[in-house]
Structures are given as C-alpha cells and as structure tokens.
C-alpha cells in the first residue's frame, strides 16, 4: 500500500510539473498574439478603416515601445478572411521608405522599401493563405502577398532624417497610402 501511495504521489507531482511546463509554453505562444491584438486596435483601429497617420513621434507617444523619432508612420489594420485587400503607396523621393506587413502573431512576414531602392511605388494585394471557397481573388497579374494569418497590420515608415528638409516630402508619401 505504501508503494501505491508513493506512486500516486509521484504521478501527481509529474502531472503538476507537466502542467507548469504547458502553462509556460502556452504563455510564450499567447503573449505576442495578445499584445499584437491590443496594439493593432490602438494604433490602426478596425480592419477596413482609413489609414492612421499619427504625428511625428515624440516623448508623448507611449502606445508602442521603442518608437523611432526619425520615422513618420502610417498604419492600416487588415482582415483578408473574406476578400483580399489592395494596398498602394508611393515610396520615392525620400532617402528611405518602407511598407511592412505583420501577422497576428507579430511576425514581419513581408517588407518592401523605396527611397534609394529600386521600388518607387507599391501596389499589392494581401490575400489569405486559406481563402474560403468562392472568395474573390486579386486581379490577374497583380502582385499578391499571401498572409500567414487572416488579420494583421500594415506599417509604413518614412525617414525624416532632418525635420526641416524631409518632413514635407515624408508627409506627401504618407498621404499616398491607400488600404482597401
């Protein structure tokens, strides 16, 4: 009887240990998704809404950690579970500009840059990796980016290395962003 009681006790501790490990792993998995969900809502609103164009970052910005004060940002939230979304933006005339796509788990799965690079403008369609039957597709010949998750965030960055010299042109580029 002692042996079976000891066996039960050992089994209980093993199960508790496994439970702790599972909780640890689940937390690591869930944390970026939870943070991303909250951040997207705070800085980009609901999918389908107009691009957000916050002021040039300063010390009062406390929504996203480690913001760069040298970049002008624009954001769009996207949800391609029902149909793809078109994105257009000019990326030329500045030293650096980029469009980046982030999945719901915060991974940066796609990026293009302009400025001194070869890309002068972006015109692409974001599509679900698992489109439902009957879902409309992007036009033939269009640049298509397949998203690993149906929801995510688009972030446009435009360099403002010198405010007096660069801000006006950077703002023009930011205003060119169209989502949907």
């Amino acid at each position: 009887m002692r042996l079976s009681t000891g066996g039960h006790r050992l089994g209980t501790w093993v199960l508790l240990g496994l439970l702790a490990v599972l909780a640890h792993q689940f937390t690591l998995w869930a944390l970026p998704r939870w943070i991303m969900d909250r951040t997207v809502k705070a800085i980009a609103g609901e999918p389908g809404s107009a691009p957000r164009r916050p002021p040039l970052t300063d010390h009062t910005q406390r929504r996203v950690v480690m913001p760069s004060p040298d970049l002008l940002y624009a954001t769009c939230a996207w949800d391609v579970s029902h149909k793809p979304m078109r994105v257009r933006a000019s990326l030329e005339g500045v030293a650096y500009a980029s469009l980046a796509l982030y999945a719901a788990n915060s991974d940066n799965f796609w990026v293009t840059h302009g400025g001194e690079g070869p890309t002068k403008a972006a015109d692409l369609w974001i599509r679900s990796a698992r489109p439902a039957a009957g879902q409309p597709d992007a036009p033939a010949g269009a640049q298509v980016v397949v998203a690993p998750t149906d929801k995510g965030l688009l972030l446009m960055r435009v360099l403002v290395g010198d405010i007096d010299r660069d801000l006006a042109r950077a703002e023009d580029l930011r205003q060119s962003l169209r989502c949907g």
């Binding site: 079976s4 439970l19 937390t27 944390l31 991303m36 300063d58 991974d107 940066n108 840059h113």
Partner: protein, 212 residues
C-alpha cells in the same frame, strides 16, 4: 499468514480521494499554472539573455522573423514590437556600458563608433519602459543624416542627464533616475551584418567621469 498487497483486505484500505484531497490537488494545479505563466513572463522579460553579444550591445538575427522561436517572439513583443526582420533592419540594444556596468540616466556617457554599414542608421536613447525621454528640443537620437563623422568615419554622441560642458558632440538628454537603454538601428544592413551581426564593430560606451 501475512497479508500481501493486492488482497481484498489491502485493497479495501485504499480509500477513494476525499473532497479535501481534490481541493488540495486543484490548488496545486493552480499554483503549477501560475508558476508556469510567471516563469514565461520572467523569461520573456530578460533582455540580458536576448540574442547575441557584440561588445556591450545585444542583437538577434531572429527579431521579426517568421522563423523565430516562441521565446524570441515573446521577448520582441514585450521590448520591440513591430521589429522588422534582419534583411530590412538590425537592432542593437545596449543596457550596459563597455565595462559591463548598467547604464544609468544620471551618469554621463560618451558613445563612439564606426558608422554602421547600411542604407542609414540611428542611435536612440530610451528609458526603462522603452519610451523616449522628455525633451522639447527633440534630442532623442542621432542618425546618419545628422552625424558628423571624423576622418576615420567614426561618429560620437554623449548621453546623460546633465548637459556636457563641451559641445563637440551631440548630446541626448536622459533626465531622471533609473536605467536607460540605447538602440542602434541599421536599416538595409550589409549582407555581412545580416549573416553575422557580431561583425559590427561595436560602438564603445564609456562613462566620462565616476558616477555614484
């Protein structure tokens, strides 16, 4: 004759678990879950173990990457959400000076290094919470468009709470008490840096005078 285990009498002595016992197990399970969650949050918030070291700077090849592991993803979500992958940007973060001492706002530091190889770069000071220090003159960072390089292509900047006596280098104010971190961003880094980020000649971070 002695009774052996497995006899009906022995089996009868094994009582079914009581409600009290189940309550104890449930409490232990709750503690196990809490322990697992706490350990994950603690581990995700240990920047000194993040990525690889390049002098006093730490950098990860996996920040922002779809190939990253769950721990790195969680660390980046907490301390650098919306990081770009390494083909676009590399992030070097320092929380200690070149002597291994934690960076503190009220100390004065001089950072000097070779301009990184990339399309452009910036060096920014952040507080413990990863946000910018208050400054109405927007002295938050220096970047490659503003930095004055010496004949060896080296840049220099001062960081600290008190304005330096000399204006030979730009100064990033870090008012208040507590720690600070420096982030060196290299946009469109060279292929060599993308492959081995420790190839960056790490900028030196040196205290200019003893700081209690």
């Amino acid at each position: 004759m002695a009774q052996t285990t497995g006899t009906p009498a022995a089996l009868q002595r094994i009582r079914p678990a009581s409600p009290r016992r189940w309550g104890l197990v449930a409490l232990l399970a709750l503690l196990a879950v809490a322990g697992g969650v706490s350990s994950a949050l603690w581990r995700a918030n240990t920047p000194d173990k993040f990525g690889q070291a390049a002098g006093p700077w730490r950098v990860s090849l996996l920040a922002g990457s779809v190939q990253t592991d769950s721990l790195t993803r969680a660390q980046v979500a907490l301390g650098g959400l919306l990081a770009l992958n390494r083909t676009e940007t590399m992030y070097y973060v320092a929380r200690h000076d070149s002597q291994g001492q934690p960076l503190r706002r009220r100390c004065s530091y001089r950072i000097k290094g070779l301009a990184p190889q990339g399309a452009w770069w910036s060096l920014t000071a952040y507080d413990d919470d990863h946000f910018l220090f208050p400054d109405d003159q927007r002295r938050y960072s220096i970047n490659s468009a503003q930095a004055v390089l010496d004949e060896g292509q080296r840049f220099g900047v001062r960081v600290g709470a008190s304005e330096p006596a000399s204006a030979d280098l730009p100064w990033l104010p870090t008012p208040g008490e507590g720690g600070l971190q420096l982030t060196l961003r290299v946009y469109r880094p060279s292929a060599a840096l993308q492959t081995d980020p420790t190839r960056l000649e790490p900028p030196l971070i040196e205290q200019e005078r003893p700081c209690a």
